[in-house]
Structures are given as structure tokens and as C-alpha cells.
Point group: C2
DNA sequence: CAGAATCCCATTGGATACTG
DNA sequence: CAGTATCCAATGGGATTCTG
């Protein structure tokens, strides 16, 4: 359910910065295409991780944020990041090649 | 780095059951092909999550287990599982259709 | 601005056969 | 038993174009 090239990145941004507009996410995530962004957002919405709010105005304004359940994921995400940071052999070990 | 259809499943089994042989993993994970199993195991090994031990004998015996760092992932994995279990609207909410 | 539709390629993943 | 090699289908993902 969290599979997909950009899902974790999206969640991370929504986690760190709160509610974001489509274009804000687009700017915040270099390399993502509109298609991918909307697609992964839809899937996350469908799975109840993110919520989507449309403001009926022009120009269109759509905001994405984490649902309660999505926010509840943060400790897990945090644990995962801490684990990743613990990865051995990253700097002190690599004196050979410069 | 954890992307891939079977990686989480593999890690979960190694986490729950300790060191496992190739064939044991194969039996434990219905639907996985040898190709996928070996491929994902190699990637996990390359990333330092699992360790691979070869016993030079016939018939060949190869055992896979989590590295120290891989084991350190368990709290994070656990947090993720707890989060998944918290998912709302799974049973009590769905009285309409059955 | 936000999103849909289309086309296209690269990667992933699966079935099968073969080897030491 | 453990792994490799090959072929094939499905999906993932990207560039572009179009719309309200």
C-alpha cells in the first residue's frame, strides 16, 4: 500500500509541512511528473492516508493533507528514519576512496 | 530501498522466525518465484539488511538472516504494523453491505 | 492552477528450463 | 538444494498535449 516511487516522499512532505496545494507538492518534489503526483495522491486518498479538499473557485485550489490515520503513521515513519540513520559504514568507514 | 514486491514480506519472516534457508523462505512465502526471491534477497544483502551464509556441502545449504542493522529495523516495522492495525473503517463501519 | 488523456519506454515480476 | 538464464506479460513511470 505504501509502494510507489513517490508515496513516502509525499507523506514525508505532508508530515513535515502540513497541508499543501498541488503545485506546492509539485515544486517540493523535484523529478515528479504531474501524472505521477496525481496518481499517487489518489491512491493515498483511496487508502485513507491523505485527504483532499477542493475549494470551488477560480483559479482552482486543491489542498492535500494527512488524515488522522495518516498522521498516526508519523511515529512509524520516524522510527523508520531513525533506523535509516543508524545505517553502518556510511562515512567513518570510507576513508579509502576520499 | 525497501521497494519491491516481496522485501517487506521477507524481512517480516526473518524477523519472526530468525535464520531461514532458501527453501524455507520459498515455502513460507506463497506466490513468490525463485527468481524474485533470490533477486530481492540479493538486494537486501547488498543494502546490508540481510546476511547470507553458505555452508560448503552437498546438498548446498544457504541461510539467510537479518544483520544487526536489519534487526534494528524491527521497532520501526512494528510501529508500522501497529499503525496499519489502527486503520479505521474496516469492520464496525461497514454494516451496510453485509 | 489542477487535472485528464494519450503515447511510449524501462523496469518489475512471473513461468519455465537448465546447472552444479 | 540453491541458483542462473531466458523469454514474456504487466505494471510503473515519464513527456507531452489538452481543458475548465
Amino acid at each position: 500500500m505504501l509502494e510507489g516511487r513517490w508515496k513516502m516522499v509525499i507523506i514525508f512532505h505532508l508530515f513535515a509541512r502540513g497541508v499543501l496545494r498541488f503545485s506546492e507538492l509539485e515544486k517540493s518534489i523535484p523529478g515528479v511528473s504531474q501524472k505521477m503526483l496525481i496518481q499517487q495522491l489518489r491512491e493515498l486518498e483511496r487508502d485513507g492516508v491523505v485527504s483532499r479538499t477542493v475549494y470551488p473557485q477560480v483559479p482552482p485550489r486543491v489542498e492535500y493533507g494527512l488524515t488522522d490515520w495518516g498522521e498516526a503513521m508519523c511515529p512509524a515513519l520516524d522510527a523508520l528514519l531513525e533506523w535509516a540513520a543508524m545505517r553502518p559504514g556510511r562515512a567513518a568507514n570510507d576513508a579509502k576512496s576520499g
